[in-house]
């Protein structure tokens, strides 16, 4: 009997080997769709764009730059395209943060916004703006644009680190404790932002109101380049973490048993989440629910294996923010609705649906 179990029968062919080839097609297909969506989104807006405007730089190069761009071409190439691409990049960054947060806390309902990471970043930026803006005199002017992003990053890092610590006191796998902690953190950061609002001068107040609702207005090519460089640094590193992060789903103890250095992994994940959230908040204000929706949809499409889910959720995050931003800038043209409203309108009900599904799956308790 003991020998019979060792007899090598026909080995079932696991889907893992075949799947890695299958990833290429959905990934390429989604990229193509995203490109098409970007071009389409760039067509919409208060200023009408024609085919000639799309070809303007090509014509300008052929004519050696003698003809300046017509108004609509300028709007397309200097205002709308940077904004559309920025939406893709910021959406990808937020989705990355969301995927990593969910992997870190081993729960599909974890979201940097709900857990207070994004408001922590906003709160740090608000405090810096109000308290340190006047004291920022000794800084060389080249560094000034970086003060707020760095502050936002520090705020996000602090909150993420605290959450990581607090999560260990709670029941493993329980999302309720984490969400309650996020509730507390959100309350504290809202109070601090309120304090900053109180202390702010009129001019600072105008910038502060920006943090709470989120907006992609004012994005130019330099901002796009900065975000692209940041993502180019973060994304490969995050993809390297995907394989060990898969193991974290087994539980912290089991993950260390299979050979993962768990504390170090958690440290890197916290850093990555803080960087991507901090950057997104610093330049766009608080945009919520993307970190929840994009990984969820990606999981539904390609499964929970992080090696596939991470790139997909970034693509989906970019697409979702592109959609929300296109709506935000076209629905009430020529005025603009803050984009955070749309992500909240979609994300809020979606979260409730996901909560219901999770409760059903875990048999009545979360």
């Amino acid at each position: 009997m003991t020998l019979s179990v060792l007899r090598r029968g026909p080995v079932p062919r696991t889907p893992a080997a075949a799947g890695s080839k299958l990833l290429a097609w959905p990934l390429l297909g989604t990229l193509a769709l995203l490109l098409a969506a970007t071009l389409l989104a760039a067509q919409f807006g208060p200023v009408a764009i024609s085919m000639a405007d799309w070809l303007a730089p090509w014509r300008a190069a052929h004519d050696d730059g003698s003809a300046a761009f017509s108004g609509a071409a300028h709007v397309l190439w200097q205002i709308r395209l940077p904004r559309v691409i920025f939406a893709l990049l910021v959406g990808a960054a937020l989705a990355l943060a969301g995927s990593l947060t969910q992997a870190l806390f081993r729960n599909p309902l974890a979201d940097p916004g709900l857990l207070g990471v994004t408001t922590g970043a906003a709160c740090a930026a608000a405090l810096t703006l109000v308290i340190f803006a006047s004291a920022a005199a000794p800084l060389p002017p080249a560094w000034r644009p970086w003060v707020l992003p760095v502050a936002a990053f520090c705020g996000a890092l602090l909150v993420c680190f605290s959450l990581d610590r607090i999560a260990r006191w709670l029941t493993p796998g329980s999302i309720a404790g984490l969400l309650l902690t996020g509730l507390a953190i959100n309350a504290v950061t809202a109070a601090v932002i309120g304090l900053a609002t109180y202390l702010a001068t009129d001019e600072q107040l105008r910038s502060l109101s920006f943090w709470t609702l989120g907006s992609l207005a004012g994005a130019g090519w330099s901002l796009v380049a900065t975000m692209a460089v940041l993502l180019a640094l973060l994304v490969p590193f995050a993809c390297r973490l995907a394989r060990p992060l898969n193991a974290l789903a087994l539980g912290e103890a089991a993950a260390s048993h299979v050979g993962i250095a768990v504390p170090r992994l958690r440290g890197w994940v916290v850093l990555l989440v803080a960087l991507s959230c901090g950057a997104a908040v610093a330049w766009c204000g608080v945009i919520g629910f993307l970190g929840l929706l994009a990984p969820h949809l990606a999981r539904a499409c390609v499964g929970a294996d992080l090696r596939r889910q991470l790139p997909f959720s970034m693509l989906l995050g970019g697409a979702l923010l592109l959609l929300a931003d296109t709506l935000a800038r076209t629905l009430a043209a020529p005025a603009e609705i803050p984009v955070g409203i749309f992500t909240a309108l979609i994300g809020g009900p979606a979260f409730l649906l996901m909560l219901r599904a999770a409760v059903r799956q875990q048999g009545g308790s979360v």
């Binding site: 208060p46 205002i79 207005a217």
Partner: protein, 305 residues
Amino acid sequence: MRGLMPSRRDALALLLGGVSAAALPGWALAAPSQPRIVAAGGAVTEMVYALGAEHLLAAVDVTSLYPEAARKLPSVGYMRTLSAEGVLAMVPTVLLATEDAGPPAVLRQIAAAGVQLAVLPAHNRFDGMLDRLGRIGELVQKPAEAAALAAKLREDWRASEAQVAGHLAQRQQRLGRPLRALFVLSHSVSQVMVAGGETTAQAMLVYGGALNAIQGFNGYKPLTPEAAIAAQPDLILATTQGLEAAGGVPGLLRLPGLAETPAGRAKRVVALEAQFLLGFGPRLPQAVRQLDSAFTEALAGQTAA
């Protein structure tokens, strides 16, 4: 090999085009003979209408409610949260805005598109208003009308100042001290702010011959009952819109602390339309006179609406 050459050249052209797209600003319209103006700010719009240059207006913002005709123009949204594309869709040559307009990044984008950005400093003084009028006169190419209007306003202003001085002297005799007023800004029942120093509201109070009862801070801060009572205002000033939002005079006086002030006990509440009162536009002399009359009436024992 030969088939590859054109495509490589095209790709290079596109790359160069992309680079030059990033480098060139450039906003060339079929050179307009007349300026097209987008006005952001109620006072700015008023001044344009006062100079008779309303035919140059392409769009206004949502705070431009006077005169009535301005409400029919296309709107570019709230002046503090402008949209670059929204403004550029109006194909303007000039964006006339006060210092309050924003966000700064959007203003930079609009300027980069070749639109002339005329940001008028917001001095809460009559002279500042005249300076703005002069600047707008230049921009709409009506300097003569601007000078004439400025002269007329100066005369008007002297009349207002005289009226205020007269009533001030009377009040000094009667009360023995200056009139203390409190400006209350209420967006909603739960959010009530009072005006401190360096605000438009305080400037108007002073022009109207009163003193700001609340001292010690600048800008708009939330109302605290103790501070309101300690300030002992004789009179409460509000905007008509704010008064409506608070639920009329009874509603306003139900706010914590206000009912216990001398103003609250005597139900002395004065309200003027927001743009008229705080706009610092060409109706400024008129506004000061109306404010002063309202103060006098209120003190004479009648509750002003």
